[in-house]
């Protein structure tokens, strides 16, 4: 076991983990933060996307021990974030989720797009969201929701 110290949603966390424990398992199993979802567990589906040191990353192919000293923000950590609040409203209004399994990863990625690419058009949003798979609602509502938030901020 290896000791790892990091911050999760602003709070300091120290945990004993096996080196093979990926960050998502630390978040879900040890910390009980089950908003981070695991789909493919090899970096393809995007369900596990969280913010690490301010940038969206895959928590299934980032090992907990490699996040020593990092600041991690999961979907539970965006409650007071105004951009995320706007995205939540837009996802609801545009029917951008059905079962909701992919939604935490979608929202973390969508927030990154809104902040990093304020001039993005629909084609760019689709390109940027290509690493987040949805298997029930489809992508039209998701893209519309993100575009609505982008347009509201212009």
């Amino acid at each position: 076991m290896t000791r790892v110290t990091l911050t999760v949603n602003g709070a300091p966390v120290t945990a004993e983990v096996e080196p093979r424990t990926h960050l998502a398992d630390l978040l879900r199993e040890t910390l009980g933060l089950t908003g981070t979802h695991l789909g493919c567990e090899h970096g393809v589906c995007g369900a596990c996307t969280v913010e690490i040191d301010g940038a969206p990353q895959r928590s299934c192919i980032s090992y907990a021990v490699a996040c020593e000293g990092s600041a991690v923000r999961t979907i539970e950590g965006f409650g007071e974030d105004p951009v995320m609040a706007a995205l939540r409203e837009a996802f609801s209004a545009h029917h951008a989720l059905q079962c909701g399994y992919c939604t935490p990863g979608m929202l973390v990625m969508a927030r990154d797009i809104v902040l990093r690419l304020p001039d993005a058009d629909e084609a760019r949003v689709r390109e940027e969201m290509s690493g987040n798979l949805c298997r029930c609602t489809g992508y039209r509502g998701i893209v519309r929701a993100i575009m609505a938030v982008l347009q509201d901020r212009r």
Partner: protein, 246 residues
């Protein structure tokens, strides 16, 4: 899936790494560990080594620390002496969440046959600087799928990208079934005062460097790949050649 158990240590310096398997961003090795395609007993983490971070630029070109991320190239934080060609390539690597952690040096050392950097950096005549004080042209670094000319315990420390002559143009196209997926065909073309240079990638072998469009067409025709991938290489070649005015 979950990886098989491994021991883990963070390297404090390049000198202490030894001959064990290293991990940087882990965006290629991580999936292989999770799928148990790779089962190292021990991993040494070099992602945050200061000696592998940072970039520099002068009149002759740019140097990127090996742990420069794809996103740092995409965002222009790493200087691009090719005038935006490498920046554009970076944007097409996997997905943003992967690019935020995956490193250029790691991608070269991993040598996935479908990877973008071995092709784009070979086109730019970039050189990998190593911990054994060697300078290996990227075109000579990758020997085959997941195989490089790095010796055991030797790691890439930086990538040196020469500034091309004025009037040099670059283009690269790849065939992917979905944005961000592994390429099934990839062709990069450079035109300019030094003549033509073509690199064929995603050919299930080391990228091939050729000195003209005609030679590239002949090479594609001779590859033992499924017809749709040869057609993809040819189509990517046509598009890239048109873009560089060849």
């Amino acid at each position: 899936m979950k990886p098989a158990a491994f021991d883990y240590a963070r390297a404090e310096s390049i000198a202490e790494i030894g001959t064990v398997r290293v991990i940087a961003g882990g965006q290629s090795l991580g999936p292989m560990l999770n799928l148990r395609l790779a089962r190292p007993e021990r991993l040494v983490d070099i992602r945050r080594l200061a000696a592998l971070r940072g970039t520099a630029e002068d009149a002759t070109g740019a140097t990127w620390g090996a742990a420069t991320t794809h996103a740092e190239v995409e965002d222009g934080i790493a200087p691009d002496p090719t005038g935006g060609f490498l920046q554009g390539v970076a944007r097409t690597i996997a997905y943003r969440a992967v690019r935020n952690r995956g490193t250029v040096g790691g991608s070269l050392a991993h040598a996935d046959p479908a990877a973008d950097w071995p092709v784009a950096l070979a086109l730019a005549e970039a050189v990998a600087l190593t911990s054994a004080a060697r300078e290996i042209p990227v075109a000579a670094l990758v020997l085959g799928p997941f195989e490089t000319s790095l010796a055991p315990g030797e790691i890439i420390t930086a990538i040196r990208i020469p500034r091309p002559a004025a009037g040099t143009r670059h283009a690269r196209h790849k065939l992917v079934r979905k944005t961000g997926e592994f390429a099934q065909a990839m062709t990069a073309v450079r035109s300019g005062p030094q003549g033509m240079r073509v690199v064929l990638g995603a050919i299930d072998a080391a990228p091939m460097v050729l000195d003209g469009i005609a030679a590239a067409r002949e090479a594609i025709a001779a590859l033992s790949l499924p017809p749709h991938r040869r057609a993809g290489l040819a189509a990517c070649l046509d598009r890239a050649a048109t873009e560089v005015g060849a």
